[in-house]
C-alpha cells in the first residue's frame, strides 16, 4: 500500500494471542492497516472475527490473558506494542480515546457523569477544579446533551441510552485525541438515536479533524461513516478497500456474500436471500488453507491446502483470495463472484382467500407503579395502550418500533403469557378472554413463540429431544417412540439431523440453536408463530439462513407470523404487512412495500429514513428526530408523538388522532391525514 506522510496509525502484521487452559488462541493473526489524519477506517466482521480484539489490541486494553505477540503498532512513529505500561497509559484517553458499544454498562454507576468526564481530563492535564468543571460542561454542550448545567451532576442511570452514549463521546473527546477507536458505537441504540449519534460523530470529526477507527458488523453504518474499509474474517484481513469501490464491487467472496446475505430495503421479497453455509469458525478449529474455504461457494482444491496471500488488486485495494491472483484475472470480469442458484420463493397460495386468523381489538396492558407502606398504586406504565391489529391465514405481519414501545408486550399478550388489562384477542373466531381453561389450552397450542436469544431460551440441562418433546407432552400429542419420531421429523424440517436429538444445547452454534427454538415452536403444529426479535441475536451470515427457513416454513405449512423486530430491513423483507408502534400505540399499518415507498405518519417517515443504507454513494435524506422516546408512565397529551414530531400542529397537543383508513390497505393515526382529505 502506498505510504502517506499523514499516516497517524499504522498496524503491521499484528498478532494477538489469548492464553487459555486449552492452549493459545490466536484471535488476531497478522492484521495490517493504516489510518491517516481525519480519516475514518471501518473494521468489519462477524462475531469472533477478531475485529474488537484488534481494536482493543491497539491500546493494549485486552483482558489479562491476552497479549499482542508480534507485529508493530506505529502511532506517530511510536511502537505502542513495545511501550511500558506507564507510557501507554499516558497515550490512552489523551492521544487515542475509545468509545464502547453498550452505553448502559460502560459508565461507572456510582459517579456522576461530570466526575467521569473530569476524571479523564485530570489524568492528563493539570487544571484547577473550576476549570475542570467548565471543560466538562463545555464537552457536554459539544456532544449535544440537553440541559448540560443540571445534567452534569446526574448519575448514568438517570440518563437514557442515547444520552449516555453522548457522555461516552464527551469522555473520549475530553483531551482532544487525534484518534478515536469506536467499538460498535451505535449497535446498542435504537435507529432514530443511532442516526443522531452518527450525525454527531461526523460533525465532531469535521470540526476537529479526529481520525476514527470504527469497529462494526453493520454494513449500513460502514457505508455511511467510513472512508476505508478493512474486512476481517477469522482473525485475518480478507479485503481492504476504499468504501465506494468496496460496495460497488467486492473482490473477496466473503465480502460479497456478506453484502448479499443481508436484506436491504430494496431487496426483492420473493427472492431467497443468499446464504453463507455453516458458521463462523471457532478459533480452536481454524480451517486449513484459506480460512473461508469451507463456507465459500467458489472454493477449489487449492483453497483447501494453500493460504492465499493479500493480492493487490488495485491501488490501495487488497484481497486475500486466489481469485484475485492476476493469473486468473478473467474471473473478475463477471458482474458478481457468486452466481445465484434458483432462488425465487413460490407464490404464497395460503394468502389467496384472506381468512382472518387473529383479531386483536383495543388491547391494553397497564403495569401499576406502586409506592409507600401499603403499595398504593400511584400511576401506570402504559406499555400497550389500545392496540388493534389482525393477521390473516398465511400472512406475515411485521411489528416495528423502538425499544420500550411495547411491541414485545403485544406478543406476550397475544400468547397469554401475561394478562391484558383491557381489550380482547380472538383467534380463529374464538375469544381468548371468555374461553374456558380447555379452550384456552387448545388455542395456546396453535399460537407458539420463537424467542430472541437462542442462548438463554433453551434449558442447558435438557437434551434436544426433551426440549422439543416438551410441548408434545404438555399437549398430550405424543409420548415415547412416537415422540422421538416426531422430534426427528421436526429437526429435519428445520434443517438439522435426527441424530442431533440426544445432544445438549451447548453443542450447537447460535444459528442451530435458533433452528431448535423454531422446531420447538412447530411441535404442536401451530397456525401462528410469534417471532420476537427472532433473528436479532444472530450473526448476519446466519440471519439469512433463518430468514429463508422461516419463509420456507410459511409457504410449506401455511403458517402466519407476527414478526416483532427493531430491524426495519429484516421486517421489510419478511412481512406482507407492517404495523408501526410508538409508545404503546399503533400509528400506521399498511403493506410493506407501501410503507417504505410512501410512509404517511411522520414517525414512520423518520424511522425509515434513519435506517443506514449499505450504499456509500447514496447520501440519505434523513429526518433526525429530536430527543428520545418519552416515558410510557407519563406519555405526552394528545398525539403521543407530538413532542418529537417535525410536523406537529396545535391540534396534536390536545387531541388524540384516531386510526383512519386512507385506502383499503393503509391506515394511519395522524392529524395530517383524514378529515381534510375527505372534504
Amino acid at each position: 500500500m502506498a505510504e502517506n506522510s499523514n499516516t497517524l496509525l499504522k498496524v503491521e502484521e499484528m498478532k494477538t494471542v489469548f492464553k487459555t487452559r486449552a492452549g493459545n488462541l490466536e484471535a488476531v493473526d497478522g492484521v495490517s492497516f493504516s489510518i491517516t489524519k481525519g480519516e475514518t477506517v471501518a473494521i468489519v466482521g462477524e462475531s469472533g472475527s477478531g475485529k474488537s480484539v484488534s481494536a482493543l489490541s491497539i491500546l493494549r486494553l485486552l483482558d489479562s490473558n491476552g497479549e499482542v505477540t508480534s507485529g508493530k503498532i506505529l502511532f506517530n512513529d511510536l511502537n505502542l506494542k513495545d511501550l511500558s505500561a506507564e507510557e501507554i497509559r499516558k497515550i490512552r484517553g489523551n492521544e487515542i480515546a475509545m468509545i464502547f458499544q453498550d452505553p448502559m454498562t460502560c459508565l461507572d454507576p456510582v459517579y456522576t457523569i461530570g466526575d467521569q468526564i473530569i476524571e479523564t481530563i485530570k489524568i492528563h492535564e493539570d487544571l484547577s477544579k473550576q476549570e475542570l468543571r467548565e471543560r466538562a460542561l463545555e464537552l457536554l454542550k459539544l456532544v449535544g446533551l440537553p440541559d448540560p448545567e443540571s445534567r452534569i451532576d446526574a448519575y448514568p442511570h438517570q440518563l437514557s441510552g442515547g444520552q449516555r452514549q453522548r457522555v461516552m463521546i464527551a469522555i473520549a473527546l475530553a483531551c482532544r485525541p487525534n484518534l478515536i477507536i469506536a467499538d460498535e458505537p451505535t449497535t446498542a441504540l435504537d435507529v432514530t438515536v443511532q442516526a443522531q449519534i452518527m450525525e454527531l460523530l461526523k460533525d465532531l470529526q469535521s470540526q476537529f479533524g479526529t481520525a476514527i477507527i470504527l469497529v462494526t458488523h453493520d454494513l449500513g453504518v460502514v457505508a455511511e461513516m467510513a472512508d476505508k474499509v478493512v474486512v476481517v474474517y477469522a482473525g485475518q484481513v480478507v479485503e481492504q478497500s476504499d468504501v465506494k469501490e468496496l460496495f460497488q464491487k467486492p473482490q473477496h467472496p466473503y465480502t460479497e456474500a456478506l453484502m448479499r446475505s443481508i436484506p436491504k430495503i430494496d431487496t426483492d421479497k420473493n427472492r431467497r436471500l443468499l446464504t453463507i453455509k455453516g458458521n463462523v469458525p471457532s478459533l480452536r478449529e481454524i480451517p486449513s488453507g484459506c480460512r473461508f474455504h469451507p463456507r465459500c461457494p467458489l472454493a477449489t482444491e487449492k483453497c483447501k491446502s494453500e493460504e492465499p496471500p493479500l493480492f493487490e488488486v488495485a491501488e490501495n485495494r487488497v484481497s486475500k483470495c486466489w481469485i484475485a491472483d492476476s493469473s486468473i484475472q478473467d474471473k473478475r470480469k463477471v458482474p458478481t463472484l457468486i452466481e445465484e442458484p434458483d432462488s425465487n420463493f413460490e407464490v404464497n397460495e395460503h394468502l389467496v382467500n384472506k381468512q382472518l386468523l387473529l383479531d386483536v381489538n383495543n388491547l391494553q396492558k397497564h403495569f401499576p407503579i406502586t409506592k409507600g407502606v401499603l403499595s398504593r398504586t400511584v400511576g401506570h406504565v402504559k406499555a400497550v395502550d389500545g392496540v388493534s391489529l389482525n393477521i390473516h391465514k398465511g400472512e406475515v405481519l411485521g411489528l416495528v418500533g423502538e425499544s420500550g414501545c411495547g411491541k414485545s408486550t403485544v406478543g406476550r399478550l397475544i400468547t397469554g403469557l401475561i394478562e391484558s388489562t383491557n381489550g380482547d384477542v380472538s383467534f380463529d373466531g374464538k375469544q381468548l378472554s371468555s374461553a374456558n381453561r380447555k379452550d384456552k389450552k387448545a388455542i395456546r397450542k396453535r399460537i407458539q413463540f420463537v424467542f430472541q436469544d437462542p442462548y438463554s431460551s433453551l434449558n442447558p440441562r435438557m437434551t434436544i429431544l426433551d426440549i422439543i418433546g416438551e410441548p408434545l407432552e404438555v399437549h398430550n400429542l405424543a409420548k415415547g417412540n412416537t415422540k422421538r419420531q416426531r422430534v426427528g421429523e421436526l429437526l429435519e424440517i428445520v434443517g438439522l439431523s435426527k441424530n442431533d436429538m440426544h445432544k445438549f444445547p451447548h453443542q450447537f452454534s447460535g444459528g442451530q440453536r435458533q433452528r431448535i427454538g423454531i422446531a420447538r415452536a412447530l411441535a404442536t403444529e401451530p397456525d401462528l408463530l410469534i417471532c420476537d426479535e427472532a433473528v436479532s441475536a444472530l450473526d448476519v451470515s446466519v440471519q439469512a439462513q433463518i430468514l429463508n427457513l422461516l419463509k420456507d416454513l410459511q409457504l410449506k405449512m401455511g403458517l402466519s407470523y407476527l414478526f416483532i423486530s427493531h430491524d426495519l430491513n429484516v421486517v421489510k423483507y419478511i412481512s406482507d404487512r407492517i404495523a408501526v408502534m410508538y409508545l404503546g400505540e399503533i400509528v400506521e399499518v399498511t403493506d410493506s412495500d407501501t410503507l417504505f415507498k410512501e410512509p404517511l405518519h411522520p414517525y414512520s417517515q423518520a424511522l425509515i429514513s434513519a435506517v443506514p443504507i449499505p450504499n456509500p454513494v447514496i447520501q440519505p435524506d434523513r429526518i433526525i428526530l429530536k430527543g428520545e422516546v418519552p416515558s410510557p408512565s407519563n406519555p405526552p397529551s394528545g398525539c403521543k408523538f407530538h413532542t418529537r414530531c417535525p410536523a406537529a400542529m396545535d391540534i396534536c397537543k390536545q387531541q388524540k388522532p384516531e386510526l383512519k383508513a386512507i385506502s383499503n390497505v393503509h391506515t394511519v393515526s395522524c392529524h395530517l391525514y383524514g378529515e381534510e382529505q375527505k372534504a
Binding site: R92, G93, D102, E119, I123, Y155, H157, V373
Partner: protein, 315 residues
C-alpha cells in the same frame, strides 16, 4: 427516606416482640428456676420456696407472666434481677458500652484486615499469592474463636510471660489498659469475620473488574490504583456491607463466649451468667438489646447502600 426508616423501625418492633416472646417461653421451658437454684442447699422448705416464687411472680401461668413483662417493658421498666434485686436497665447500661466497644473494634479490625487482602486476592487472581491467601482465609473461617482465644492467651503467657491486665478499665479511665484488655478478644472475633470479608471482597471485586466500565476507566488512561480502589472497590462495597450486616449476628454471639473467657464485664458475659442462674428478666432484656443492636446495624447497612450506590438511592 424518613418514611422508609420509620417503616423499618415499626417492622423492627414487631420482630423484637416475637423474639422476646420466644425467649420468654424457651427460658421457662428449661428445668429449674432461680428460687430452686438459689435455695437448693439452704434447707428451705418447699412452702418457703413457693412463697418466694409467689413474691417474684413466678407462680403465675407463663402467659400472665409474659403479659406482665411485656406491659412493664413497654413502659420502660425491664424489671429487677431475681438474684441481686438490682434494676435490670441499670445493669444493662453499665455493661452495654463494653460490648459495643468490643463489637466496633472487631468490625474495624476485620475491615482493616479483610478488605485489603480481598483486593489483593482479586487483583492477583489465580496466582500463588491468591491461593496462599485463600488457604489462610479458609483457615480463619474454620477456627472457632474460643479456641483461638485460648491459644492466644496460653501462647502469650508461655512465650512472653504476658497476660492482659486484670480488672476492667473503661477507655475513658485508662485507654492503654483498656486497649490491652480489648485487643485480644477483638482480634479473635475479627479474624472469623475478616475471613468472610476476604472471600466476599475478592469475588465482588473480580466481578466488577470484568465489567465494561472498568475497561472505559482503563481506556481513559487511569492508573491501576485508581481503577482498583476508586472504581472496582467502590462498586463492590454493597456486597461487602451486606455481608458485614449479616455477620453482626455471629459477632454478637461471639461476644458471649469471648467476654467470658477474657472476663470482660459486657452484655455477653452478663447473659452467660444469667442463664446459668435462670435470672429471667436479665436474660430477656439482654436478648432484647442484642436483637435491637442487630436490627439497628442492618438498618444502618440499608441506609449505607444508598450512600454507596446512587441507583439504590433513587428507589
Amino acid at each position: 427516606m424518613i418514611e422508609y426508616i420509620a417503616r423499618r423501625l415499626i417492622f423492627g418492633i414487631f420482630v423484637l416482640l416475637i423474639m422476646t416472646t420466644f425467649i420468654f417461653i424457651i427460658m421457662r421451658a428449661v428445668p429449674g428456676d432461680v428460687v430452686t437454684l438459689q435455695l437448693a442447699n439452704s434447707g428451705a422448705t418447699p412452702e418457703q420456696m413457693d412463697a418466694l416464687k409467689a413474691e417474684m411472680g413466678l407462680d403465675k401461668s407463663v402467659i400472665w407472666q409474659l403479659v406482665d413483662w411485656l406491659s412493664n417493658a413497654v413502659q420502660g421498666d425491664l424489671g429487677n434481677s431475681l438474684w441481686s434485686g438490682q434494676q435490670v436497665s441499670e445493669i444493662i447500661l453499665t455493661r452495654l458500652p463494653v460490648t459495643i466497644q468490643l463489637a466496633v473494634l472487631s468490625i474495624v479490625l476485620a475491615i482493616i484486615i479483610g478488605i485489603p487482602i480481598g483486593v489483593i486476592s482479586a487483583v492477583k487472581q489465580n496466582s500463588f499469592t491468591d491461593h496462599f491467601l485463600k488457604v489462610i482465609s479458609i483457615g480463619g473461617l474454620s477456627i472457632p474463636n474460643f479456641w483461638l482465644a485460648l491459644i492466644l492467651l496460653t501462647g502469650l503467657s508461655l512465650v512472653l510471660n504476658w497476660i492482659p491486665p486484670l480488672g476492667y478499665q473503661s477507655f475513658v479511665d485508662n485507654p492503654l489498659v483498656n486497649m490491652q484488655q480489648m485487643f485480644l478478644p477483638a482480634i479473635c472475633l475479627a479474624i472469623t469475620l475478616s475471613a468472610s470479608i476476604v472471600r466476599m471482597t475478592r469475588s465482588a471485586v473480580l466481578e466488577v473488574l470484568h465489567s465494561e466500565f472498568i475497561r472505559t476507566v482503563r481506556a481513559k488512561g487511569a492508573k491501576e490504583g485508581v481503577v482498583i480502589f476508586r472504581h472496582a472497590l467502590r462498586n463492590s462495597l454493597v456486597s461487602v456491607i451486606t455481608l458485614i450486616g449479616l455477620q453482626i449476628g455471629y459477632l454478637l454471639g461471639g461476644t458471649v463466649v469471648l467476654e467470658s473467657i477474657f472476663a470482660l464485664p459486657g452484655l455477653g458475659s452478663l447473659i452467660f451468667e444469667s442463664v446459668l442462674i435462670r435470672d429471667y428478666p436479665i436474660v430477656q432484656s439482654t436478648v432484647l438489646v442484642f436483637g435491637a443492636m442487630f436490627l439497628l446495624v442492618n438498618l444502618l447497612v440499608d441506609i449505607m447502600y444508598g450512600w454507596v450506590d446512587p441507583r439504590i438511592r433513587a428507589k
